[in-house]
Symmetry: C2
Subunit: 167 residues, 2 copies
């Protein structure tokens, strides 16, 4: 396979993966492009490379910066803004895990806690509901704790975690 082909395949694959995980395609593609670029890229570069509009590029760069996985850079003598992706993959994964926990798991836990507070003696259906949602709360909350434990092992967390699990 040629470099250009491999590059395009990588960007497409990363984009498709993003969609499956609720991240929009362009956002994932911009991230892919920045990740494999040895040099910071300008907005123009990105637009040109991915053939997308200025507005689209701008909005998705902002979203990536909100996630903390893309950074703005200034080059001396250049008025344009340049962008780079988090280069360390461990760090990248930690940031994504943290954000998803904050944006999705934590709010879900709050809802589960709220609704499992209903009166279970009202009916047997209510009792079953209460039991199930409590069980779910318990599970999700443990899973979230586990996630935190794993990603809090600053360096080389994947390797460290596997080691501990094998012991």
């Amino acid at each position: 396979m040629k470099f250009t082909e491999a590059k395009s395949k990588f960007i497409q694959t990363w984009g498709a993966l993003g969609s499956q995980w609720g991240i929009n395609k362009t956002m994932a593609q911009i991230h892919a492009l920045l990740m494999i670029s040895p040099e910071p890229l300008s907005m123009e570069d990105i637009m040109e490379e991915l053939q997308i509009s200025r507005g689209n590029t701008s909005m998705n760069l902002r979203a990536l910066m909100d996630w903390g996985i893309v950074f703005k850079e200034y080059k001396p003598g250049e008025r344009k803004e340049f962008f780079t992706a988090e280069g360390n993959i461990d760090e990248l994964a930690r940031k994504i895990a943290k954000e998803r926990s904050r944006r999705e798991i934590k709010p879900t836990l709050r809802v589960l806690q709220d609704i499992s507070a209903i009166d279970g003696s009202e009916s047997s259906k209510a009792a079953h509901f209460k039991a199930k949602t409590e069980e779910l709360y318990d599970f999700v909350s443990r899973a979230d704790n586990m996630l935190e434990k794993i990603i809090d092992q600053k360096e080389n967390w994947i390797t460290k975690t596997i080691m501990k699990l094998m012991g």
Copy 2:
């Protein structure tokens, strides 16, 4: 909060969570409904409760059965088919993790392996690309292994994993 309100809130929340994770809303809602129902439900029951069409119900029930987290049941004397959700939450999580690994992580690994096989000596850009995709392959493959290790601890895997991580 009243039972009916709590129930509807649960179904809505589960549906929204599903969308964020690339699972369609109705599919997640049907699953939520079955999960909190003490009795198996018929297609009619589901249509009525969620106010959705027969076709939609049928397709999403099939998808849930493909995932192995909803089962078809027959009641003696009844001609209709009834449906139940996997009742054990640990088992539910294991099945979902397994399926996502199979459907998404494994194919991504194959692509990463393919594209990181390019000739890196062609240019410094190609070299950087090769290095990055190799690094990514390495990481994703370790993460997938970790996931497998975690979910292979049949019972109470969440608790077991936390214990090991604390030691």
